[in-house]
Symmetry: none
Amino acid sequence: MFSNIKIILVQASHPGNIGAVMRAMETMGLDELLLVAPKQYNHPDVTSMASNATKVVEKVTVVETLTDALEGSEIVIGTSARFRSISLPKLSARECGTLCLKNKHKNIAILFGSERTGLTNEQLMCCSKQVYIPTSDHYSVLNLAMAVQVICYEIKMASLQEQLNSSINQTVSLAEYQEIHSFYLHLEKVLNKMVFFHSNEPKKLMLKLRRLFNRVNLEKSEINILRGILNYIDKYEH
Amino acid sequence: MFSNIKIILVQASHPGNIGAVMRAMETMGLDELLLVAPKQYNHPDVTSMASNATKVVEKVTVVETLTDALEGSEIVIGTSARFRSISLPKLSARECGTLCLKNKHKNIAILFGSERTGLTNEQLMCCSKQVYIPTSDHYSVLNLAMAVQVICYEIKMASLQEQLNSSINQTVSLAEYQEIHSFYLHLEKVLNKMVFFHSNEPKKLMLKLRRLFNRVNLEKSEINILRGILNYIDKYEH
């Protein structure tokens, strides 16, 4: 899953963080990790912090330069809490999750800088977008592995949301303009008969109801239920 | 901020994790941490991993028992990835964020178990709700501090969302849970009387209508209009 998304750590210093990143990724179903010139990599802290992240540990690749790491990437997203001079389009972690899901057929790279400095301006210049994690104003610097956890969590959440939407919408077809228009006419006709309605500025109430139903994207089957109810009330009036 | 929310670590084993939790909390603006019988606490890993989480470090409290930690708590939420025999209402991390924001005037405690075992059944029995973090099916166990990071991140995100809504809706007030709940009861009562409704699998129709109205984020004034209509139909029946 998410085989089109690479997580790239640029010059990570602490082997414990590398292991923690591996675990963070695997819990969210991501397994493509690239390490660009890590300070230390063969270190017991990597495996102890990685815990049971077997897939990521098996597949991890170490490269010398960021250019090597970015080969074949079509969308490159740099994580940074700082809003610097380089003006890249900014995404929140949540928006980044959605973007990743909307681009399943593209190779996406998400870059994380070193613990001490984050991504440098030069490294950010390789990116087409910048992602930030919303934080407290007072203290905005997440630990490296924590930042990877949040970004990967939002990718997982976006994919769950997509599954939910597609299972809900499998049999759903949205109502067309004419159906909605007829529903409003019907609604207005029925409401006009109601004493309740007369005493409450009918035009204003009808506008408020249209505003409500306009927000919903009514489905055909919902229009049918609502019109069924209106027919029922309508009959009562005779 | 979030001064009504306590994070409680029950019998945490690794001082590094305690420090990492401190930093995770402070980056999201939470600063009330309670440690119940930590295995090791005066250890350099706590301060090194806490980094600049000065507020949490200053305010942290160590207590002997979970009962001490829960004193004064009104909503107690236990984090657990396992869906055990104890049947507590389940919340996702995102729903937990929303719940925390909706209960600003209540004392909320969020419990995290030890690294090795998570919360025991006995500890979960002190909780009124269970929160889980959606993960990969294949590997679902986040590191303790990572789990705290995700939960605190969702609380922060819920508060940002609330700020955004309130700036958009300055003149609009959304209906509260109880108002929506009463509206559904009223709707169901009125629909149950309708022949139309009886002939169309009432439970299924009611579910479809709830799904429709749940999508809208009903405003107070809209609930009033809808209930006015329901009252009107209701009177007709007598």
